[in-house]
């Protein structure tokens, strides 16, 4: 059972996407706290900085694939290295507008990835995910 407030982390370089997700999450009226990062490196740095501080660590990460500096897959490679030391079990969704089956297959083969979601994420989809997490 999760804490009542779900800490959501949006990792995406697309500013509009980040904006719309925050808006959708707000519209869901669920106890969430959203943090955003514009590339994988920033998100990884944050997790690395808060490994033992599980209250700071996100419960769920919506991770874009195509990003500058560090893309989603590179993030996962690095995250794997620190995963054992991460203070909680973070649910990670790979999110992309790409329908490239190579990307989809690759993402699904990564054990720490829960699912591959195709943009745009809609409110029903987010609600279901978050409610499952809350339960």
């Amino acid at each position: 059972m999760m804490s009542t407030t779900i800490k959501i982390c949006i990792v995406d370089d697309d500013e509009i996407y980040r904006f719309t997700i925050i808006k959708i999450l707000e519209s869901l009226q669920l106890p969430t706290k959203t943090t955003t990062f514009s590339d994988g490196e920033q998100a990884l740095d944050f997790i690395s900085d808060h490994l033992d501080q599980d209250y700071e660590l996100p419960d769920v990460i919506f991770l874009d694939i195509d990003m500058p500096v560090m893309d989603g897959f590179q993030f996962m490679d690095e995250y794997e290295k620190i995963r054992s030391r991460v203070g909680k079990n973070i649910t990670i969704f790979m999110v992309s507008s790409s329908l490239d089956p190579v990307d989809i297959e690759r993402a699904k083969n990564i054990g720490a990835i829960t699912d591959y979601l195709v943009k745009p994420l809609v409110s029903v989809q987010l609600r279901t995910i978050l409610e499952e997490l809350i339960q």
Binding site: D14, E15, Y17, T20, Q74, S96
Partner: protein, 889 residues
């Protein structure tokens, strides 16, 4: 005779008395040829003592006087004188009386002839003696001639030698040959004969000793002869100045004597021989002689045997009975109770046969013995002599020979072979047993000649057979050949003849010997093999272990352009291009070391060399052929020119297909990239639009709606920009126009780029260095090239390190393959290629958090370079700089 007219009557009386008393034969005749007076001698010579002839006519007394004499008398009565030293007077009784005469007239008075005075002499006895002497001399001469006796004389004073005709003949010198002492001595054979001759001469000269020697001479013509030389001295005035004598040619006698001596020695040697047994008996069968050979053969001593009656002791009874029977028949005697000792008196017996002799120790051995009758001077049989040799060895050899002959017969039967001998001088031919069988005739057929053999030769082959035998006789070498025969039983066979030529000392062919093998089956097999070979679809070449071609089929003749005869026994390398020969030799050795059916030169391209020098691609299958001539290799050769052309076409097509596939893959990749770009770069803003629209619909707050609308604008701008880039890229990709290509100077392009970026260059203190010396220009699209320079130099300044002034080095090089390579090296921020390398040239891919980074420049640059047929790559180190390398194909 003188005349006187003082008292003619008295004178006449005196004359008569004188005539009558004259010791010689004188007759006085008147003019009428009547006797007036005759001497007693006249009457005696003409045997008329008791006749009264006075007053009778001379012609009446001698009626045999012919007219010729009468004519002479007339002439004398007229005053002529007729004399004759000797003349035959053929008397009336037929006898010849040799007389001489002197007939002349006598005168009554001066000039008046009273008649004739005849003075004759009977010289018949002298004449007869003379004739007898001549006859004796002739006989002597003839005897000398027959006895080959010649006379010689040596005058010591003048060193002159006289040789009679016979001596010249003996010495074989010409009639004008003039011998002297020295040269005549040289005719005596060097050694004993010459020494003896010299001694004889010395002794004769010193002591006057006569000599009688047998000496050997060497004639002028080099023949050896024997002469008997007899000589003696004729002293004159107390010194020996003449040597004379005879030489008799005694060669025949001497040589006979020598031959006789030799024969005697030989006979003696034979009798003393230890290997030939000689035993003689007298007419009663008592052994008289038992030589050493007989002792050695039989183990008995002569003393043990001589005196024994009948040699039954060492003979087998059965053989004696058989011998007696045979001898009885041969001498036409009754065989029953026949005994050759008692029943033969003067019949010739000369019997040679094999006997079994029994030795003293009881062992027996085979002998060959000739038994002959010994005859006395009256031709009566005195006994027998047996000459015997031990033929054990011969028998062994005979047995061995028989055994070998039997083996040869068996071998000949197995190999279907026979052998023959042809005495070409006598045209006598001998065949082995199996040769009769090959020709299908009975072995008993005798009097074989070349014609016998020739009669079996197939009519169509007779000419070639004659040619071969003629050639063999001419070349003195027998060439092996095959021909067909029709046997006595009508079978058609093929035979192979091999042979040798035998010549005499003069090099003339006297004999041919050889073999004749029935190769019918072989020929059939050969024909079958030939048939198979010819029916093979491939060219077939059969080679021996020395690499010599033994057989090729028609297909091979056609393929290589050689007639089969030309290639026979030629090296197989004749058919191989020179560059393949070394490898072929090695491969050939390997094959013969481990012969097995296999493809030659697997995986390698093989070529054959035709007679016209043309090469053609081939495929070869090798198979070992184990034959009587050793291991052969059969090579099935297939011309694969068509396959090669097809293969070439296939390869070309494959290459084309691969090129097309490559192009398609490239296009697919590009399409995939496009699809990705489309899906990502278009789907992202579209999904944003959808999300914004959804929010917008739900939004009730106007202020929020404005915010949302601003977001719409951003997304739409982004989408527009992306679409513009994609359109630009599509334009680049679709541009395939070579018309836009021109020769562009790198310096000019750089110069223009620097002008465009002059502000940034000035602002950043950038140092741009270039080196286009290796390659100053390129044939390309000017717009693209300007864009490429602008993007890469622009990026270098945009992503420069804040720690240092930007340095940009641009260099062009012309590679060995003709490609032009451009390098842009900077000392900027660098890119983590491990992390971003895969999306370095992707659309909207940025690797920095740089505000100007849009991820379009490198995408378009790569698209442009690709469209020009080149490619771009990068090496980089973070915070050290990046080098972009463009390879223009």
């Amino acid at each position: 005779m003188s005349t006187s007219n003082s008292n003619p009557n008295l004178q006449g009386e005196y004359n008569k008395i004188f005539i009558e008393q004259a010791p010689t034969a004188i007759a006085m005749l008147d003019n009428e040829m009547r006797y007036l007076a005759v001497s007693q001698r006249w009457l005696k010579d003409y045997k008329m003592e008791r006749q009264r002839i006075i007053g009778l006519s001379h012609y009446e007394i001698f009626p045999e006087i012919g007219d010729d004499w009468k004519e002479e008398h007339k002439k004398c009565l007229e005053g002529a004188i007729n004399t004759c030293d000797e003349a035959p007077f053929k008397r009336a009784d037929g006898s010849i009386q040799w007389i001489y005469w002197d007939v002349r007239p006598w005168y009554i008075s001066e000039g008046i002839i009273g008649g004739l005075l005849m003075h004759t002499g009977d010289i018949t006895h002298l004449k007869e003696r003379e004739q007898e002497k001549a006859r004796i001399e002739t006989i002597l001469e003839q005897t000398n001639e027959v006895a080959r006796i010649g006379t010689w004389e040596f005058n010591v004073d003048n060193n002159k030698i006289y040789w009679s005709k016979i001596i010249r003949e003996i010495f074989e010198v010409t009639e004008d040959y003039k011998p002297d002492f020295e040269t005549s001595l040289n005719f005596f054979k060097v050694g004993r004969s010459r020494d003896k001759a010299k001694n004889a001469y010395s002794n004769a000269m010193v002591d006057g000793a006569p000599f009688d020697l047998e000496l050997e001479i060497v004639t002028a013509k080099g023949k050896n002869r024997w002469i008997r030389a007899i000589g003696q001295v004729e002293p004159a005035e107390g010194k020996e100045n003449r040597l004379f004598g005879i030489f008799q040619d005694i060669s025949k006698m001497k040589f006979s004597e020598i031959a006789l001596n030799r024969a005697h020695s030989e006979l003696k040697a034979i009798f003393n021989s230890k290997s030939i047994g000689i035993i003689s008996t007298d007419k009663d069968g008592i052994i008289k002689n038992f030589n050493q050979g007989a002792e050695a053969l039989l183990g008995y001593s002569a003393s043990e045997m001589i005196g024994l009656e009948r040699p039954l002791i060492y003979l087998l009874k059965d053989e004696i009975i058989k011998f007696k029977h045979d001898i009885a028949l041969s001498t036409k005697k009754d065989p029953s109770n026949f005994d050759h000792y008692t029943d033969l008196s003067e019949e010739d017996v000369n019997d040679t046969r094999e006997w079994t002799y029994r030795r003293k120790d009881g062992s027996t051995f085979p002998t060959l013995s000739t038994l002959s009758a010994i005859k006395n001077s009256n031709g009566k049989n005195e006994g027998f002599i047996a000459v015997t040799t031990d033929i054990s060895e011969i028998k062994n050899v005979q047995h061995e020979l028989l055994r070998k002959n039997r083996m040869l017969n068996v071998a000949e039967k197995i190999t279907l072979m026979g052998h023959w001998q042809w005495d070409t001088i006598r045209n006598v031919v001998k065949w082995s047993t199996n040769l009769y069988s090959i020709f299908g005739i009975e072995e008993g057929l005798t009097n074989l000649t070349y014609e016998t053999y020739f009669s079996f030769v197939h009519p169509a082959d007779k000419e070639i057979v004659t040619e071969y035998f003629d050639k063999a006789a001419n070349d003195k070498r027998f060439y092996s050949f095959t021909h067909r025969i029709l046997t006595a039983k009508g079978q058609l066979k093929t035979v192979q003849l091999m042979g040798e030529i035998i010549t005499n000392d003069q090099g003339e062919v006297v004999e041919m010997i050889g073999t004749c093998q029935d190769v019918t089956e072989q020929k059939m097999a050969e024909k079958k093999f030939r048939g198979l070979l010819e029916s093979a679809p491939d060219a077939m070449v059969i080679v021996n272990s020395k690499g010599k071609i033994q057989l090729i089929n028609k297909q091979a003749e056609k393929l290589f352009g050689y007639p089969a005869e030309e290639l026979f026994n030629k090296s197989v390398e004749t058919l191989i291009p020179e560059r393949f020969i070394p490898e072929h030799s090695t491969q050939s050795e390997h094959f013969f070391a481990r012969p097995r059916t296999r493809e030659m030169g697997q995986g390698k391209e093989l070529y054959a060399l035709k007679k016209n020098g043309q090469e053609l691609p081939i495929q070869i299958s090798l198979s070992p052929l184990h034959t009587e001539e050793g291991l052969l290799v059969s090579a099935a050769i297939r011309d694969i020119t068509k396959q090669k052309i097809a293969e070439h076409k296939i390869i070309k097509s494959k290459e084309n297909l691969e090129a097309i596939a490559q192009k398609l893959r490239h296009q697919n990749k590009q399409l995939a990239s496009y699809s990705h770009i489309t899906s990502h770069n278009l789907r992202a803003p579209v999904s944003n639009l959808n999300a914004l629209l959804s929010l917008y619909k739900q939004c009730t707050n106007e202020a929020e709606k404005i915010v949302l609308f601003e977001k719409f604008e951003t997304v739409i701008q982004h989408l527009t920009s992306t679409l513009n880039t994609l359109v630009a890229a599509l334009k680049i990709k679709n541009s395939n126009d070579t018309e836009d290509l021109e020769d562009i100077n790198f310096d000019a392009i750089l110069h223009k780029t620097k002008e465009i970026l002059s502000y940034e260059i000035l602002n950043s203190n950038a140092v741009i260095k270039s080196d286009f010396t290796n390659c100053s220009q390129i044939r390309s699209n000017r717009i693209y090239l300007e864009s490429i320079f602008l993007n890469l130099i622009g990026n270098a300044m945009k992503y420069r390190s804040t720690d240092r002034e930007p340095h940009i080095d641009i260099q062009s090089t012309l590679e060995k393959n003709g490609n032009i390579v451009l390098r842009f090296k900077d000392n900027g921020l660098g890119i983590d290629l491990e992390r971003h390398g895969h999306k370095l040239f992707g659309l909207n891919k940025v690797f920095h958090r740089h505000p100007d980074a849009k991820g379009v420049g490198l995408f378009l640059t790569k698209t442009q370079i690709n469209s020009l047929g080149g490619d771009i790559s990068a090496t980089s180190k973070v915070n050290e700089g990046t080098t972009f390398t463009i390879n223009f194909n």
